[in-house]
Symmetry: C2
Subunit: 582 residues, 2 copies
Amino acid sequence: MYRTHTNGQLRATDINKKVTLAGWVQKTRDKGFMVWVDLRDRYGITQLIFDEERTPKEMMETAAQLGREFVIQVTGTVIERESKNPNMPTGDIEILVSEISILNKSLTPPFTIEDETDGGEDLRMKYRYLDIRRKPVRNNLVFRHKVTMAVRNYLSKKDFVEVETPYLIKSTPEGARDFVVPSRMNEGQFYALPQSPQTFKQLLMVGGMDKYFQIVKCFRDEDLRADRQPEFTQIDCEMAFIEQEDILNTFEGLTRHLLKEINGVEIGEFPRMQYDDAMRLYGNDKPDIRFGMQFGELNPVAQHKDFNVFNTAELVVGIAVPGGNSYTRKEIDKLIDWVKRPQVGALGMVYCRVNEDGSFKSSVDKFYDQEDLAKWAEVTQASPGDLICVLSGDTHKVRAQLSTLRMELAERLGLRKANEFAPLWVVDFPLLELDEETGHYHAMHHPFTSPKPGQLELLDTNPGEVKANAYDLVLNGNEIGGGSIRIHDKKTQAIMLKHLGFSEEEAKAQFGFLMDAFEYGAPPHGGIAFGLDRLVAILGGQETIRDFIAFPKNNAGRDVMIDAPAPLDKEQLEELHLKLDL
Amino acid sequence: MYRTHTNGQLRATDINKKVTLAGWVQKTRDKGFMVWVDLRDRYGITQLIFDEERTPKEMMETAAQLGREFVIQVTGTVIERESKNPNMPTGDIEILVSEISILNKSLTPPFTIEDETDGGEDLRMKYRYLDIRRKPVRNNLVFRHKVTMAVRNYLSKKDFVEVETPYLIKSTPEGARDFVVPSRMNEGQFYALPQSPQTFKQLLMVGGMDKYFQIVKCFRDEDLRADRQPEFTQIDCEMAFIEQEDILNTFEGLTRHLLKEINGVEIGEFPRMQYDDAMRLYGNDKPDIRFGMQFGELNPVAQHKDFNVFNTAELVVGIAVPGGNSYTRKEIDKLIDWVKRPQVGALGMVYCRVNEDGSFKSSVDKFYDQEDLAKWAEVTQASPGDLICVLSGDTHKVRAQLSTLRMELAERLGLRKANEFAPLWVVDFPLLELDEETGHYHAMHHPFTSPKPGQLELLDTNPGEVKANAYDLVLNGNEIGGGSIRIHDKKTQAIMLKHLGFSEEEAKAQFGFLMDAFEYGAPPHGGIAFGLDRLVAILGGQETIRDFIAFPKNNAGRDVMIDAPAPLDKEQLEELHLKLDL
């Protein structure tokens, strides 16, 4: 027993108790005749005191020599502090130390172990074990645990069963790239790590498990973008004998429970928005609806004059920036430069000030009169004092650009409040998505998603128009969950795979087991998967998932702490029947 | 909404309710004028009734044509059964069907979906999704979920935090073989899948997480033995600022909680046995103590006569088989043949009957008189009616042989009762183990295990004698958990790695990050890991772990359902900069 109490535990009611504590030296203050030490562990900080009147000389010297992050054990008496610290739970007391033992010394840490550290990202990642000692990082990990326990207990009580599906599965060329695992026992063959347990959870439904969930690692060998991890965690769920409505209700219930239990926020019924409306009103299938600034489509009121930029555009679309009329000309110019950066990609931006007196002043006054501009204001719901920002061009691109601008402006205006939560369902996603590079359609959700009833026939004539029984749960501008009702008969699945470009042989080789399973009494089923890393970050009021992962990888997919990946021994490669081909 | 109730839900109190049910056709009985259908889902079976008086003709025909495993939805009225079935929770009622809809047909399943099936192991694995529809398999999976929830909630309440550690880590040549994962983004380099999160959980302790657990998949590329899986699940735990006693108490608490909550069995304090005693008394470091038959070492009372077999043996050791005197000569001869099989490997067996009158009759009466044999009986604690079985030879081998015989006889005598639980701690394991093939010592637990205080010096002179702060939790003859107090200073870790044959460079390359971490204030720490698959099987009163895994692999490491592993596309190999070398 190294301690009788933790460092977050002792209070004024414990005064006069003899206690033993252990932990890390957060800091020491040495006044010569008196030494104070802040002793830290996961649970808090307790102040130790040594003074020349009551502490033996030798121990005073030991105390004075304690370095930051030394691990010590002390025994002493809880006494009342002279100057109390109301900001610390243990701030009323301190420990008059009678025994001290240095359990382990520490080199000077490469960055300060404080809430605000002087360590840069790279250094903190290399010494992640020291970073985790910092309260904000530790709290994030504890928070993550709290969220996963809440998820598990909620779903368990609703009769969901957590079933572990295998990690060593089969590679499928569809979707993102798989990580693969050479099999030594089966020469020349490979397992793949799952991008998701999709087919297995569907097989569990065929197997009658009825309600399944799993909090599970998934793997994608993608060229990493910022804040993407090659391994990530999903709350993976599936139900049988359900319709879309049942799924939405069940997982709206889960999300509402989490917001209540974790954040203390009560949310009523979640709004539902059609995919087409989300794209039209927010240019985005994961709109942040904590604030307005909805898109106004201006084609009818902006394409009747001689302004060729608008007249030749597929879409002219604007947003009203609340209070944006206060921007100086210089600020607006900077904004225009911002939207023209390659990361956004707009060719330019038209703006229109809405003056307090209701008059308008636009960058295209040459073409549009006050009456025209009044209509723009009406369509974009602009009020006096606002600034209307208008982009134009190809619908797909211009929506994405204006959406980026909308989010940026909201961020600058402080409208994206971390402690405010605005969930919504986006429903009726298209089944297929055109890959503009290849000209081929691929599954927007995945190849197992069911088209809406009666729309299967459209696949031949108008594939882009087919709607799916697919839905996303969006929270504060982030997709936190996505799912669909699945195909559950072999014929439909075969048609679907054919349309996705699989030959009959390929379909059989890759998904034969699933289609066979559909012939033995597959029930109607569907599900959803939540991205746990992001969900936890958002509930935690943050957006960087890396801060909620104990040992994240960097943007090159490397773990810089353990220095992985790394070359293999020659013998290991030989055993696997592999040669490098560099 | 496909159903108003599940098939396990309706009771006599629901009579006259109109309900909608969905599920699988378990079986139909067609009397012509009346058809009964057993409708099954995860929750139970409800009987449906169609009769020519009350059911429209067309629906009678549909009912008569339902095949096994068809998925149907019915609406009807709950009525009282004529002949009740007291063995079914829903046995008082049946559903008079008014609407029926076939949701999906089924081919005739390749084996019967009943508690006892006619399907062989291979067939059941290929169609595992059908096997899971069988109640015993489904119940095992639900049971597993119940156990993991109990573990998580218990540990959470004790302030343990579940932290996810990475799956893509670095290969270490120590221990079993790693599965490796080629990195596309880091050419020629590989990740490894973890054999356990050992180093990461230790880093979490260095990081001040204090109490960690994780239910986590681990991977070992071993030549598979029966009932071993290449991927398996661990309950992985670690604590800081603790001594061995704290770990034993904490996880004895967890195990006691599980036995109570899951099995309804109250167990007092777990016995503790030294490794040396376990080997001496049971020939085994995971003794099944549900029954006696302890070893009696007979050297002093068997090596004083002219029987050379014993005189030249390192160890002469026997067990008393309760009631074994009833074995016929033929039965004993068969037992002798059994111990001489290569799987056991004994050269022969000496036996001694203990007659009801207290006299003895042995196979070596030529050498030993009644007085000698009485001493054998005393040492092996044999009573009248027992049979003493004696093996002799090399201590290490003969203990293993007699242990195998002991377990086999206990099995035959029905002493290994599935609903009886006898946990114990085996403590004070040796630090190192001699590999008889290579003559080298390797770590018995793992290279991070701490030697007992003051024994480090013995490493140079008498490495086999060094005891470790290592312990196993044994339940009914199975190791269900094992752990140790870890080394937490760089110097000791370096000495340990040197003794295990690592050069300084190798030690640095493989474990440099851990030894560096030890220099920044590592606290004393230790932990334990439970094999979840086996724990669940034993709590479930069974011994085959495969029955508690949703999608197990076969003994060749293959998933025969999805047919993995499988060859890769040429393009995939090229992207990974790999060539096959077959």
